[in-house]
């Protein structure tokens, strides 16, 4: 019985694979033909339209989540500033400490650098997706403004530090402004679409 089942199964495989000969079982031949008509063109057109509409929806959703140019540029610039400071702390920590007139703590500088690079990733997220921008603003702007305020204390001590920290502070404030403008424009666009 098992052999018979195997044989019958192999015969079906051959037939469905287009290898069945004219000696094949007539019931199998009939079933293989009657059960496998071509799908009607109307059905294909209907599903094509569904797939195309879904693809258009996905494109629209991606477009809607792309941040405005101003927000993207400010977030990217702040991310760059954080990375610059973080990498600078690692490669030139001793020089920075010397210019600030304080003892160099490699351990603290290294861990601070890692934290700054993590903050840079968070800031960069706002340059990629609008939906991530709120989190970027909440985490990066306070940090950037704090660094900016700290920069005032370095005036007359370390010019490069002043320039970097004041830039970070300004970018932190600009990030809030860019986020607010982007949000306002998005909400206005939605209202107009609804209207």
């Amino acid at each position: 019985m098992s052999d018979e089942l195997e044989r019958s199964d192999a015969e079906i495989d051959d037939l469905l694979g287009g290898r069945g000969g004219p000696t094949a079982d007539p019931t199998l031949l009939w079933l293989a033909s009657a059960a496998r008509p071509a799908p009607p063109p109307a059905l294909l057109a209907r599903i094509d339209a569904q797939v195309a509409a879904a693809a258009a929806d996905r494109r629209e959703a991606r477009r809607a989540d792309r941040p405005g140019l101003f927000l993207a540029v400010v977030a990217g610039a702040l991310a760059f500033a954080f990375v610059f400071q973080g990498v600078g702390n690692i490669v030139a920590g001793e020089w920075i400490a010397e210019n600030l007139g304080e003892p160099h703590g490699p351990h603290a500088y290294f861990e601070g650098a890692l934290a700054l690079i993590a903050a840079a990733v968070c800031a960069a997220a706002a340059a990629v997706r609008r939906s991530w921008s709120t989190v970027s603003v909440l985490t990066c702007s306070p940090l950037a403004v704090s660094l900016g305020l700290g920069g005032f204390g370095e005036i007359g001590v370390f010019a490069a530090g002043v320039a970097l920290h004041l830039s970070e502070g300004a970018l932190g404030l600009l990030l809030v402004l860019a986020w607010w403008l982007d949000r306002r424009d998005t909400l206005r666009g939605r209202h107009e679409e609804r209207a």
């Binding site: 293989a32 496998r36 799908p39």
Partner: protein, 163 residues
């Protein structure tokens, strides 16, 4: 793997499977369309590690066919008195409807089979699944799946001889 490519590769087999399970081609078109609508929605969560695309689509198609029968089974015209064959409509309403209302020979003849045999034939010949793939879908061993098809073919031979 893009959904567009998956759809093009599998639309014929899904359509053929569904067509063998509902009475008319227009019903089959509606159900097939629903299958791909659901597949499109679920595509991001499809996990290739859990089975083939063909098996995944057949799983969706089986649910869509079951939903169709739940919604439309009672709307189909009732059988004339005395017109019943060996199985009753209560046992197998799908088979009963296919026997009476099937749009072509293949569906009317499949209506004579038991629900499991009809499903096995639709999977083997409509979806063109092999015995192992059928076994996964039906939750049986590959040899049991082969046996279902074998029995179905035997009954179809009898029906065709009687005609």
């Amino acid at each position: 793997m893009r959904f567009e490519d998956v759809y093009r590769e599998h639309v014929a087999s899904v359509w053929r499977y569904v067509r063998l399970r509902v009475p008319s081609d227009s019903d089959a078109e509606d159900v097939t369309s629903v299958v791909f609508e659901k597949a499109l929605t679920s595509w991001p969560s499809y996990d290739a590690g859990r089975g083939s695309v063909a098996g995944w689509l057949v799983g969706i198609a089986r649910h869509a066919v079951a939903d169709w029968w739940r919604k439309h089974g009672r709307e189909l015209p009732a059988e004339h008195p005395g017109g019943r064959t060996e199985q009753t409509a209560e046992d197998d309403p799908e088979g009963d409807a296919l026997r009476r209302l099937g749009a072509d020979d293949v569906r009317r003849r499949l209506g004579v089979l038991t629900a499991r045999e009809r499903e096995a034939v639709a999977l083997r010949f409509g979806s063109e699944l092999n015995s192992s793939e059928m076994a996964v879908v039906l939750g049986v061993s590959p040899s049991a799946a082969r046996m279902l098809v074998h029995r179905a073919l035997g009954r179809l031979r009898e029906v065709m001889d009687d005609e």
